[in-house]
């Protein structure tokens, strides 16, 4: 049946069509929808889980692959850093059941800390990487990836990027059937136990395999040389789509080399491509991976080959590419008429800037505000973490002084405290992030006598990525009820003496609890528990009694709620956004904010 599918959904259905039996991942934009789709569309015979983090996910999948199951691991690019420990070993050990690691890169970056390139990671790990150019290709390619994985007994990576993950195309999906049972784990300690001797032997095989795979990929149907024009273009991923758009109607001028397996690089096909063109432009987002392969290859050619790309500053080295950027670069490199002109818009009135903000009614706003009030006048640092609450950095809250990677808020605060003992250091961490990589940091703090105040922002979901369950929610990916892991009990078990749970929307009590935490020493924790407003029914919106509003702007100045703005001399609440959280009501000095009935 023909369906409109996001790239992530297409990859998931492709994996189901390939008979995936075990799937594990951790939510992360832009990869999240893959596992959700697997769980939603499976017809049985599948174990799919939100693992506690990417390392756990990769290891769960590795074990299942040892037992002969086809497995899928999903994550965003920075998740691969977390999973790199098992990846850098399972490549040496190898697998039995096909294992595909789906990694979503984020050029821009749009929703990530870094612009790292998973194709580089794959080459570093000596793991073959497939790079899809469209959602419909992701559907086919993931099925082929399983075949290669089993043919060579190696995990393989399927790399995608935001504009493929989150763009939709029409895909013809066959009827999906449940897979059979895996063969099972066959004990063989010389195969499955990684010892130095085994690694030495297998390293030789990995290196030898590179050449074999390169040849194999030179006849892989998705690596293509298209056209036979005088100007060369090499590209991969979504950049292939931008190239098609930029050369629309002028295809005769170009020979396009579409690279879907950047590692191992299809060298013999690349030689054929280079022999047909005089000069080549390379379009790829993130790192110059294809470009470097071509440069290295051109060193072995008899004639000099000119390659224009990021290394020659012909193509931007950071951020997303676009058809317009490709068109401009082509016109500069080859003098072709490929410029894409925007509509001219002169004398535009200034439009407001709109950085992303915490939603109206978001309990994190109340938590940050309570800590800000409690720590007022102190020499305090606020170490943030990864999640919606990173947005607490924006004015007027301004409550995120550092943000590095998952869990670093807990540990970075310890480091600042050791270096500067006269400061009060707060660590903010969300519930899902706490389970993913916060707990070890708290153990570190207790063990090493750090002095921090841990603020757990528990909104009972993984909000930023679209509300996935986690170990604290009592629900699994498949929707089954499971054991609920209590954050407070975990903290107490670790040895955190002061660990109190409080509702951040009760401002007075919240401030008082944080103040009591500040008065103690060592590791103290306050768990702010209030559900994400996107997953619960809202209270009635609040309204402002204009007669009583003195126009002091305190609510706007201190809270930055998107439902509030000034309407002439008075504050106003957008009732279509207000969730009735009541924070503004507790901040207003005149008591002019109330429920509608009270008017």
């Amino acid at each position: 049946m023909k369906e409109l599918l996001m790239g992530n959904e297409a990859a998931a259905l492709g994996a189901l069509a390939a008979g995936v039996q075990v799937a594990a991942g951790y939510p992360g934009t832009p990869s999240t929808e893959v596992l959700e789709t697997l769980a939603g569309r499976s017809t049985g015979g599948l174990h799919a889980e939100w693992s506690v983090n990417e390392k756990a996910a990769m290891e769960v999948a590795a074990g299942a692959s040892y037992a002969g199951a086809r497995t899928l691991v999903t994550m965003k690019q920075v998740g691969l850093n977390v999973a790199s420990d098992p990846l850098m070993c399972v490549n040496y050990v190898g697998i039995k059941g096909g294992m595909v690691v789906y990694v979503a890169d984020d050029p821009g970056p749009i929703s990530s800390q870094t612009e790292q390139d998973t194709r580089r990671f794959a080459a570093y790990a000596k793991v073959p990487v497939f790079d899809c150019t469209s959602p419909e290709e992701a559907f086919e390619m993931i099925q082929e990836a399983y075949t290669y994985s089993e043919k060579y007994g190696t995990p393989v990576i399927l790399r995608s990027t935001t504009r493929i993950c989150h763009s939709c195309a029409v895909v013809d999906v066959p009827e999906l059937t449940a897979p059979g049972r895996a063969e099972g784990f066959i004990k063989d300690s010389r195969r499955w136990v990684i010892f130095p001797r085994l690694s030495y032997e297998n390293k030789k095989k990995l290196v030898a395999r590179e050449k074999v795979l390169s040849d194999d990929f030179s006849s892989y149907g998705r690596n293509e040389i298209i056209g036979n024009g005088p100007y060369g273009i090499a590209c991969g991923g979504v950049s292939f789509a931008y190239v098609k758009e930029a050369i629309l109607g002028k295809e005769d001028l170009f020979t396009v080399f579409k690279v879907c397996t950047p590692y191992p690089f299809p060298e013999s096909m690349a030689r054929k491509f280079l022999s047909g063109v005089g000069k080549t432009a390379v379009f790829e987002e993130l790192d110059p991976v294809i470009e470097d392969c071509l440069i290295s290859l051109s060193g072995t050619l008899e004639h000099r080959m000119e390659i224009a790309g990021k290394r020659t500053e012909s193509v931007p080295c950071a951020g997303e590419l676009s058809a317009a950027a490709v068109g401009l670069a082509l016109s500069e490199i080859f003098g072709t008429d490929t410029l894409i002109q925007p509509r001219s818009c002169e004398e535009q009135p200034p439009v407001p800037v709109r950085p992303p903000v915490l939603c109206a009614g978001c309990p994190h706003r109340a938590s940050f505000y309570a800590v800000k009030k409690a720590a007022a006048g102190m020499k305090a640092n606020f170490c943030g973490d990864i999640g919606c609450y990173t947005l607490g950095n924006a004015a007027p809250l301004d409550m995120v002084d550092t943000c590095l990677c998952m869990g670093a808020g807990v540990t970075a605060a310890q480091g600042i405290g050791h270096a500067e003992p006269d400061t009060v250091n707060f660590s903010f961490i969300g519930d899902s992030t706490f389970f993913a990589s916060g707990i070890t940091g708290v153990v570190n703090a207790v063990y090493n006598k750090a002095d921090i105040i841990l603020i757990v922002l528990d909104n009972s979901t993984t909000a930023m990525t679209g509300h996935q369950p986690h170990p604290g929610t009592g629900i699994t990916l498949m929707g089954d009820v499971t054991e609920t892991v209590s954050i407070e009990a975990v903290l107490k078990g670790i040895g955190v003496g002061f660990a109190e749970t409080v509702d951040p929307l009760d401002l007075k009590k919240a401030v008082e609890t944080v103040k009591r935490a500040i008065d103690q020493t060592g590791v103290r924790a306050v768990i702010f528990k209030s559900p994400c407003i996107a997953i619960v029914k809202h209270d009635k919106p609040l309204i402002i009694n204009a007669d009583q509003c003195i126009g002091c702007r305190k609510c706007i100045r201190e809270l930055g709620c998107p439902a509030m703005s000034m309407d002439g001399k008075h504050a106003a609440i957008d009732t279509s956004l207000c969730t009735g959280c009541g924070l503004c009501r507790q901040v207003c000095p005149t008591g002019c904010i109330g429920k509608e009935e009270a008017r």
């Binding site: 763009s167 002109q341 939603c359």
Partner: protein, 198 residues
């Protein structure tokens, strides 16, 4: 190939509207691509959805100057994205602004009138829909997305009709919201009919 850019502020329902447009095209046997803003940028930030319909759609994103139509869920966002509209293209916008937190904090004046005036002065085929009317008819301004879609269908630019969209809405939208969405769709279509007559 026909391309429509939908732009607005996170939470206004641009994603649903773009999916409805694409699904309507598929129902008619066509091919479609869409690309939407999902993730951090969604939280009250600027969002865009690209919808491209036709036999050979090369890329998911509409290049600047190549949109046949723009649906502006917020007039200022229409101004921000106007460079995407091709010469002779159609723009349909909501008349209601969404205040930005950054502007409110800075105490900056932001009026919809200046935005709408600019759009009208610079786009020949420019249609403005009343958020107040959508609120009155459907009970919430949230249904503006379908009003804009209805207006787009009636304009004929994307080669989709109002009944095409109606079919897609019935298929995609939760049962209890279908009726409201259809009323919004009809309101948008009626506004275009009226302006064409005038």
């Amino acid at each position: 190939m026909k391309s429509c850019l939908l732009c607005g502020v996170g939470g206004q329902g641009t994603v649903l509207a773009s999916r409805i447009l694409a699904m309507a095209a598929i129902e008619k046997g066509g091919f479609a691509r869409t690309a939407e803003t999902i993730g951090m940028a969604q939280r009250g930030g600027c969002v865009t959805s690209h919808v491209r319909i036709g036999e050979s759609v090369p890329s998911p994103l509409i290049p600047p100057g190549r949109a046949d139509a723009i649906l502006a869920f917020e007039p200022g966002e229409g101004v921000r994205n106007l460079s995407y509209l091709k010469e002779g293209g159609t723009l349909i916008a909501s008349d209601r602004i969404v205040p930005s937190v950054a502007s409110s904090l800075a105490g900056a004046e932001y009026s919809g009138e200046a935005m709408i005036r600019y759009l009208k002065d610079n786009v020949r085929d420019c249609f403005i829909l009343s958020a107040g009317e959508v609120e009155r008819i459907c009970g919430s301004v949230r249904f503006m997305n379908m009003a804009l879609a209805g207006a787009l269908a009636e304009s004929g630019v994307m080669e989709l009709t109002v009944p095409d969209l109606e079919k897609a809405i019935r298929k995609k939208v939760k049962q209890q919201f279908v009726e409201m969405n259809l009323q919004a769709l009809q309101y948008g279509a009626a506004m275009i009919k009226e302006s064409k007559r005038a």
